[in-house]
Symmetry: C2
Subunit: 647 residues, 2 copies
């Protein structure tokens, strides 16, 4: 019942040709991936060295030296390899593959005879390994290695990296777990859980699934491993004073007992993704119920309208229900990506469009806001309200940057954006033997084997700027399958025609499923009305009372100072605004802008010298408000930005 | 031109008998002062020991031991002695005076032959003295010693403590300053500046004024002493990363060049108070212009409606113009008290009611909010919006307590409240030879020598609950003087009668000055209309847009959960609310409450499961809103509180 009903369509069967997404993919392929390789090898002038590949070479005995960099430095290489793998799937590149093979050779050479492979401990003393699972990221590096190795195997069919990763997994399996001589630990930073299920799907080695399941089951069990480990090894600990304590790691309670998303947001959604994988692979209904509960808590109480999560910079963490400050927000790019990971698994198990809705929301807003339009600068933090002076002078907003930062070293968000965007096709299309699910509306061509036959599917759309999607099916002989099209949660007027005829299809869990015999040349035409919608937040969200967010389709809009002047808090929408909707090809690489006659609370009669005075109603002046897509903010000029506007 | 035109009326000439203030004074006298003495002597069960008097005893050789406590621990004894001095002025108490004399004996016994007196360095090595003026509070302790010694001399006429303090001042004068063998330093935490001018007024020793003037003039001069000191002594420094850098100490620029209030708020207003004192004592117009500029910056751009200052917990500091967050606020009780110190000097130099207006605003709101109605618990931080769950779970609000804290040790705010409240009479009345200024409306009796004759002045009022003030003058023979009554900035309808006759007096700088020959039994009747006023903030104050604060007279009101339910952000005032104004004698020791029919943004149709949905206007339900005075919040039950209410 919990097995995955559908799977990502293999990336090598998807050729994306889309006005919106293709450029992002090409930025990743042509800019981010090569740049990152230089960074991993300390060849970026003026940048702090990464030491990442150097650590592997030193551990492999290919070079003299000592460990340098962060304790999780190895993972940067793995994230790069994963992005490379996806990129190779849709854009074969012998030179890049050779470079990756070379990197894998070095990594494999660093592996110890028993399979162990973490350069921090190899170089600092193996006797200390597995003594600080809480904070030293050994199992986090393992997770990213497995993620990358699985992807690289799928991309190239080469087993070397997969075997290396499986070797480290098997070594961990010998040392971590329940039983004589084993330590009952689990990862401080989750990711291995989901990775191991992916590995198991290839290897079918029962140890691989068992280890994933063990990591999930053991987490948060009493006596608490992290507390014991800390005492025994006298490890320092940062979260003494914190509200969340071990819930920073989602390890304060057994996962099945967790009711609310807590602690470090990226870790949390990585864990929940792993829980969904294990629940599916082991048909564990109780565990799946926990996934649903946590999903509901996030999306109904702790998610920004941009799909971003993590309200607080302290611990990069969730805080509490309805606490969604716009200006001191954390909203890490990686956390929104992690939410997409979680969403995809939940969709694959349930075929419910609610999950894909969140996936789309996060993707078009909280994720791509993290990268500049030229692919060269990145945000970790994605605020919904920004004031440059506040970011400079207000300590509680010091993490909120008003310009994306040049990315020098290797760190989490840029490679995470890279691996997501270079695999975006797989998020758009999922399939089973006789079903094809279209979750994202992305133009291009696919080859899909359905009903045992190869079908070519050609998609044209200007989404998200336009709600028209045209799909043409080409096949050698008729094939019977269901083409399921997601009816987006934001869409009130969704129409489908097949070969020009209106189809009144039943909706199942948010999909219009066209189940029929498809003939060569059949055409589906989807028309989604895409009006501008004002969105209100639940009144319990203190920060959004009296305000609305402006959306059109999946895209959240914002006001920027460059278009609207400063003091954006003074701007009001009229109660029933009429918007001019215009596609501006020259603006921000082509966006639809929204313009309306609004109001500005008048500063007249105040002067600079009056801070308080008796209230005598509000006076406004007319002002044109121009909204641009949120994801594109601060690509022109640094200034104020605002998503939630007064009304 | 800058000499003080008026002076505080001596406290021994004022007998306060006032329904509102007398109880505070008695709380200080009967509870706070005795409790603090126990604390200074480490006799509070279950409390961290203060070590304060012990340090003095050890330094005096009366006891074995070492220095314990904070580097500024000495200052706690001085603050206590200052509060005692004021209390003795209006309530002579032989036993208390004997206790104070005993403390002074111990303090004096700790003094070194050269006058030096800081137990931290006496016990940790005198060779290190004056090597960390930036952070080690030697000159801060000096300042508080002088403040206390001056007060104690005025209260008792005893010179011992004054001579001890002058001895330390003279020692500092030999070591700190410009010239051969001197260090060109100045206090890291200001207070000595104002204290030294007070000392000079008694001693007339030119060194005492010169040292005050030097501290002011030298501050922030290049090369920066604090930077040099840090390098030379390899002192650590906390503010490397900060925006304000040396402006944390108001020492990044010469004080005459400072345009905005910056850095630690208490230090800032203590400095400005000292600047005003020195400007007055030395007729320094340029320095006074800096005081006026900084005053304007604070009161026109950086002051809460409660008179509180200091927007940020980081550095307990000012941030930038119009940045006045209500929920993450610092608004330290001591900073509001410091603003009152500054205001009083500015008033004494200018006789302008603007300064007394701010004094009153801070006193009735930002200061007394710091103490519970039973005098046993204190706030350092005085938020204008509080949510218990946020204070627990949101790290950026962890400093915002929703219950006043039991005061165990000796620290800044409680003794500061004590010294202010026990000298409140002096803030109410200021006089010159032929002028009497009434700044605060406090009931009681005064003896004032005016026109060379003794006058008794009897004041009756229920202020701040009522705007009627009756003043009766009693004298043996007619006396000609000006009775100047402040017309509060909040008051639009201010009427004065003398002996029942309406007087149309000219207003001078915000005062109605009744300059006439007063006969025994003359009566002045002041009637201030006291409607409920909604107050709006300048639109540049982001946090207050679309909201108003409710005031009546000088009192700022708030909503509490106990009266209005939770989710206070959902409450709206009607555009033209009508208030029921009721004095409730049993509530919160007697307060006027304000009740009105307001609205609550409806949660109906939202349910718990919807976080966002299309906006379709707002729906409200009727709700009675009950406001209580802000200062009295969280004296009943912990819960939400809100000052700025939506309208």
């Amino acid at each position: 019942m919990l097995e995955k009903k559908v799977r990502m369509m293999p990336l090598d069967q998807i050729e994306i040709r889309d006005g919106f997404w293709k450029e992002y993919m090409e930025l990743v392929r042509c800019h981010v991936i090569p740049y990152q390789w230089e960074a991993l090898n300390d060849r970026i002038e003026g940048a702090e060295p990464s030491h990442c590949m150097q650590n592997f070479r030193v551990a492999a005995g290919l070079q003299e030296g000592k460990f340098e960099g962060m304790v999780f430095q190895d993972s940067d290489a793995y994230k790069w390899l994963e992005a490379v793998a996806y990129s190779l799937m849709w854009h074969p590149d012998e030179e890049l593959e050779a470079t990756a093979d070379g990197a894998i050779d070095v990594i494999a050479a660093a592996q110890r005879p028993d399979g162990y492979l973490d350069t921090y401990y190899i170089l600092n003393g193996l006797e200390k390994r597995f003594t600080n699972l809480t904070d030293n990221h050994e199992l986090y590096c393992l997770g990213h290695m497995v993620e990358a190795a699985v992807a690289y195997y799928k991309a190239t069919g080469k087993r070397k990296f997969l075997d290396t990763a499986a070797g480290y997994v098997n070594c961990v399996y010998e040392h971590i777990g329940i039983g004589e001589g084993k330590k009952p630990g689990y990862p401080g930073h989750e990711v291995a859980e989901m990775a191991l299920v992916g590995l198991y799907e290839i290897t079918k080695d029962p140890r691989h699934l068992a280890l994933a399941k063990y990591f999930i089951d053991q987490r948060g069990q009493q006596p608490l491993y992290f507390a014991k480990e800390r005492e025994e090894n006298q490890n320092s600990w940062y979260w003494h004073d914190s509200y969340f304590q071990y819930q920073y790691y989602q390890a304060g309670l057994p996962v099945r007992e967790q009711e609310k998303a807590q602690g470090h947001a990226v870790r949390a959604v990585y864990l929940y993704t792993g829980m969904a994988e294990v629940a599916s692979a082991t048909e564990d209904a109780e565990l799946f119920a926990a996934c649903e509960r946590l999903w509901k808590n996030i999306t109904e109480k702790q998610m920004y309208v941009t799909g971003a999560i993590g309200a607080s910079e302290y611990g990069e963490s969730f805080t509490f229900d309805y606490d969604l400050p716009n200006d001191t927000v954390y909203a890490e790019t990686c956390a929104a990506i992690g939410l997409i990971f979680f969403a995809r698994r939940m969709f694959e198990i349930t075929k419910d469009s609610r999950y894909a809705d969140v996936m789309e929301r996060a993707l078009f807003n909280g994720v791509i806001s993290g990268m500049s339009l030229d692919g060269k600068r990145f945000f970790y933090v994605n605020p919904l309200e920004a004031v440059p002076e506040a970011s400079e002078k207000d300590y509680r907003k010091r993490h909120v940057k008003v310009e994306r930062q040049k990315w020098f070293g290797c760190a989490c968000c840029p490679p995470n954006v890279a691996r997501l965007l270079s695999s975006i096709g797989g998020y758009a299309y999922e399939c089973s033997e006789r079903e094809l699910y279209m979750n994202l509306f992305i133009g291009g061509d696919m080859k899909a084997v359905l009903d045992g036959k190869e079908n070519r599917i050609h998609v044209e759309t200007r989404y998200p700027w336009d709600g028209e999607v045209r799909i043409r099916i080409e096949n050698e002989s008729d094939s019977a399958f269901a083409y399921a099209i997601r009816v987006p949660g934001w869409c009130d007027d969704f129409r489908v025609k097949v070969n020009g005829e209106v189809v009144e299809a039943e909706r199942k869990k948010g999909y219009v499923s066209l189940d029929r015999v498809w003939k060569n040349g059949d055409e589906i035409q989807v028309t989604m009305a895409m009006p501008v919608v004002l969105v209100a937040a639940n009144p319990r969200v203190r920060e959004d009372i009296g305000k609305v967010a402006v959306m059109r389709g999946p895209v959240v809009y914002c006001l920027e100072e460059v278009d609207n002047g400063g003091q954006l808090q003074e701007l009001y929408l009229r109660e029933h605004p009429e918007f001019e909707v215009a596609y501006e090809p020259e603006l921000l690489k082509g966006v639809v802008t929204l313009t309306t006659q609004g109001l500005r609370l008048s500063e007249e009669n105040w002067g600079e010298e009056t801070l308080y005075r008796p209230y005598s109603g509000r006076t406004f002046t007319e002002q044109t408000l121009k909204f641009i897509p949120y994801y594109a903010w601060t690509n022109r000029k640094v200034g104020e930005m605002l998503v939630w506007v007064r009304i």
